[in-house]
Subunit: 125 residues, 2 copies
Amino acid sequence: MKMSIAMQNYLEIIYETNLAGAKVRVSDMASKLGVSKPSVNNALNVLKEQGFVNYERYGDITLTDIGESQAQKIFKKHQTIKKLFVNVLGMEEEMADDDACRIEHVISQDAVEAIEKYLEKTDNN
Amino acid sequence: MKMSIAMQNYLEIIYETNLAGAKVRVSDMASKLGVSKPSVNNALNVLKEQGFVNYERYGDITLTDIGESQAQKIFKKHQTIKKLFVNVLGMEEEMADDDACRIEHVISQDAVEAIEKYLEKTDNN
DNA sequence: CCGGGTTGTTAGGTGCGTCTAATTGTGCTA
DNA sequence: TAGCACAATTAGACGCACCTAACAACCCGG
């Protein structure tokens, strides 16, 4: 169940694109993540291999149930961290997003829960 | 002035060993970081190349002025993050240390400053 | 219904940080 | 002071994530 930071980011962008109601495309992923199309293609094949995405040559890109729940977990971490940064620490939204995007991949579940508890306690959720 | 996370960790462990007043040795670094001795050796040569450490074959390992100030910066970030986690969020010391050790390498300077300001404001420094 | 622009894929290669196995250097002790 | 244990280094290889260049498939306008 171990996933690299890079792979987590690919998964997350698919999830967010779904949330936005847009079609997931290799080119768009590449430009959003700032990598080349072959890198995206390669990542998708790895993620498919690991059972996180459904993907066929030139076909649609979708998340499997497992991929979806993984992505959701990451996304939730992101939101929690961002809330702490914006609501408690008074950071700018954009900056908070950037930091959250990097921290979400390395922070422990325990730490996230500690943040959540604090946000509840201080009515910042 | 860009340094990889791996290299930051090597630098930090040298700094901490200095703080503890102990001699810096390849073997100890390897076991503390959970990597092999050749990995440490290689890292030291890279860091020497980049001007962060003084290091000769079979010689003492010390930080240059630049290396020292870099390490100090990282260490300070670590302390700030840890304080937030322990004093504000109520996390265990050890857990907070582990999280801080990973987050310190990806968090922005702005975010650290926001944390510092918050700690001051709430008398947690 | 076909030709060209866009999108996606393949092939091949690079850098970084890691490893194991083998070798060399150091320094203590008998 | 010779030898031995252990510390450090070298050599060579691997995995991962990335790249560029080239090629293949898709699809839409004429």
